[in-house]
């Protein structure tokens, strides 16, 4: 059953607590929640007995995206430990970046964040990654992970970047900035011609469609585990590992 906030009681001002209590009354096994606010899944977990899967909470975490990305890398390159992954772009607003930094560091990969200073959060090195403001830094990586430039966040006057044109000129991932054999990933949806050159997106080394396929099996696996292993302990332990809790 899919519930969107538009047209539901959420639109009428229902609090998340009451939405959780209402959904909980149907006695579901699993609630998958995507919410614009950090910690919404934890709040829902407090008021229902269901297993909760975080499908993205604000700028905080997107655990299944990180799982499917690790699965994709490991299928393609045979390992994760020891690899060097460059994550390029708007890290500040990206839950995908945060889950991936945490998951990759946990699995022993080296992570370098690349982008303009206002889009790299101050203090993020403490998560176990490096930071560079130079796009040339991506050449050293085995995998270049390109983040979506969220145009809605780059509105005039926000001043995170002076313009998307300058961003693309300076930090766009183009064929010239890559070496042969580097794998390129993107969580989608892409802005072709902004953060990623269309030639890069369509090249053989791009793993973007594999990511989508991995998403299907990994998310099936998450649901399978939750529905078969039963008690909440298994679920919370597993999600803790990848930082959902």
């Amino acid at each position: 059953m899919s519930i969107k906030s538009a047209g539901s009681s959420v639109d009428k001002g229902e609090s998340l607590k009451d939405t959780a209590l209402t959904l909980g009354a149907y006695d579901p096994d699993v609630i998958v929640i995507r919410h614009p606010q950090i910690g919404a899944p934890q709040l829902v977990a407090r008021y229902t007995g269901a297993h909760i899967v975080n499908a993205g909470d604000g700028k905080h975490q997107h655990p299944t995206q990180a799982l499917l990305d690790l699965y994709t890398i490991s299928e393609e390159l045979g390992r994760i430990e020891g690899l060097h992954v460059a994550i390029v772009g708007d890290v500040l607003h990206s839950r995908v970046a945060r889950s991936n930094i945490q998951a990759l560091a946990l699995m022993g990969a080296r992570v370098t964040l690349v982008g303009p200073p206002p889009l790299i959060p101050r203090g993020i090195e403490a998560m176990g990654c490096e930071v560079s403001y130079e796009i040339d830094a991506i050449r050293a990586a085995d995998v270049v992970y390109v983040l979506r430039m969220q145009q809605e966040r780059m509105a005039e006057g926000a001043n995170f970047v002076p313009s998307l044109r300058e961003y693309t000129a300076r930090w766009g991932v183009t064929p010239e900035r890559l070496r042969p054999g580097q794998k390129v990933m993107h969580p989608g949806p892409m802005n072709r011609g902004v953060e990623i050159d269309p030639v890069v997106a369509d090249a053989a080394d791009a793993l973007i469609e594999q990511q989508v396929r991995s998403g299907l099996v990994v998310r099936m696996a998450v649901l399978y585990d939750l529905l078969t292993h039963g008690p909440a302990g298994v679920q919370s332990a597993a999600l803790h590992e990848i930082g959902a809790a």
Partner: protein, 432 residues
């Protein structure tokens, strides 16, 4: 300037360790109160048929003064009233509190102030001083009628909750200090730097994805206001300091001769931004919890006197407003009923602060910052006394609060140090 119930109770407190560091007093004594005034200190005092309180094993100190309380009245009586907030203050060991003017409507006219003073006179369990707004409706645009408000009994002036953004207006407000004789109390926050900020900007905000509210958003305005105060030769008081840079700036200004005082909250002294990992809206406040080095600077500032006062910034919020995701929750936590226990447990017990220093910074320090008479344990002084049990422990529970709100960061925590009795303005306001 203080409005509330007063009393002329007769009382003998026997055998407590009496500490009043201003008077150089630290001895086991009996204290007799006649008609609400301290009448005699000594051993084996006559009881004169007064009520006798056994103080053996307990500490008797000048009662506390909280310079920063939100009573939410008028406008949000569902969250706190003058009666409930002052009952909470009495339970916390306070004999006087100062209430902030960011109510609905704001305390920006003598009429609003007068009606609050009248209510407090009959309902307040401990005397209350009301701070008035610096600008009309705290809008940051036009000065309030400060001279008239001072005549009506305003204890000071503040736009707390909001900064005075325009330096020119800030300067005018300082100039009026020469007319009112009352302090300006300043909430220092540069709004374009703190915009959207949910928590301290640093490693924890980077990891959690919350928008950051950097230390410099506070310290840049602290520096500005100290410069203006120096130029106008007027005193000022800095509210709820949170950042190391702010403490350093305050210290430099004091050395240069500026009559500046500062306050710090129990939560900034006990917690860091690491607590926000819990995503609990009860650790969301403005200014936010900062890094460990900031906490250490605040403790050092309190210890050496740079920071004169502990202030709770008691900020009650309705339950449903805090039972939401962190970003949707309002800023603020309660503190009146837990301040002493929290600080005794987190600072005195581990040896970070002497008990005598804590008692001074919770009583005489805040009183002096606002030009109020400091509570004293001396013959002839009005009885403002707190009786403390340093051995007692308790688990902080919602059901024990007298405040109408329970948004405490200490819920469920076990703390040591318990208020047994509070005498405020000659009247037993809490305990037996």
């Amino acid at each position: 300037m203080l409005f509330g119930k007063r009393g002329n109770d007769d009382l003998v407190i026997r055998g407590a360790r009496v500490i009043d560091s201003a008077a150089g007093l630290d001895a086991v004594l009996d204290v007799r109160v006649d008609g609400g005034t301290v009448a005699q200190l000594g051993t084996k005092l006559e009881t004169n048929a007064h009520r006798v309180v056994d103080g053996q094993g307990l500490v008797l100190a000048p009662a506390f003064v909280d310079p920063h309380v939100h009573l939410r009245t008028p406008g949000r009586e569902d969250e706190e009233t003058i009666a409930s907030g002052t009952a909470a203050a009495a339970a916390g060991g306070y004999c006087a509190i100062l209430a902030m003017p960011n109510t609905e409507p704001a305390v920006d006219s003598a009429a609003v102030l007068g009606s609050l003073a009248e209510t407090a006179q009959s309902e307040a369990e401990v005397p209350v001083g009301f701070l008035a707004a610096i600008t009309r409706n705290q809008g940051g645009a036009e000065l309030t009628e400060m001279a008239e408000l001072a005549s009506a009994g305003a204890a000071g002036f503040t736009d707390d909750g909001r900064p005075v953004v325009a330096p020119g207006l800030m300067r005018r407000a300082l100039q009026y200090g020469a007319v009112t004789g009352r302090r300006l109390a300043l909430h220092c926050e540069e709004p374009t730097l703190s915009k959207g900020g949910q928590m301290h900007e640093g490693a924890v905000s980077a990891e959690l994805g919350f928008e950051g509210y950097p230390s410099v958003a506070e310290s840049v305005v602290v520096e500005r206001d100290l410069a203006l105060a120096a130029y106008e030769r007027q005193p000022l008081h800095l509210l709820h300091l949170s950042a190391r840079e702010s403490v350093e700036a305050l210290s430099r200004a004091q050395v240069a001769g500026v009559a500046a005082t500062g306050e710090v909250t129990p939560h900034h002294l006990c917690l860091t931004d690491d607590a926000v990992r819990s995503l609990d809206p009860n650790v969301k406040m403005n200014p936010p919890l900062r890094a460990e080095e900031d906490r250490q600077a605040l403790i050092a500032g309190l210890r050496d006197g740079t920071i004169a006062a502990v202030a709770t910034d008691h900020a009650p919020h309705a339950r449903h407003e805090k039972e939401v995701p962190f970003e949707a929750a309002p800023f603020g936590v309660t503190g009146l009923e837990t301040a002493f226990s929290a600080l005794y447990t987190h600072l005195v017990e581990p040896g970070l602060l002497k008990l005598e220093t804590l008692l001074e910074r919770m009583s005489a320090g805040p009183a002096r910052a606002y030009g109020l008479d400091a509570p004293r344990i001396a013959v002839g002084a009005p009885a403002n006394l707190v009786l403390l049990d340093l051995q007692a422990t308790r688990r902080v529970a919602e059901s024990d609060f007298r405040s109408r709100s329970a948004n405490s960061w200490l819920l469920g925590e076990t703390v040591k140090g318990q208020v047994r009795m509070t005498v405020a303005a000659g009247r037993v306001a809490f305990g037996s």
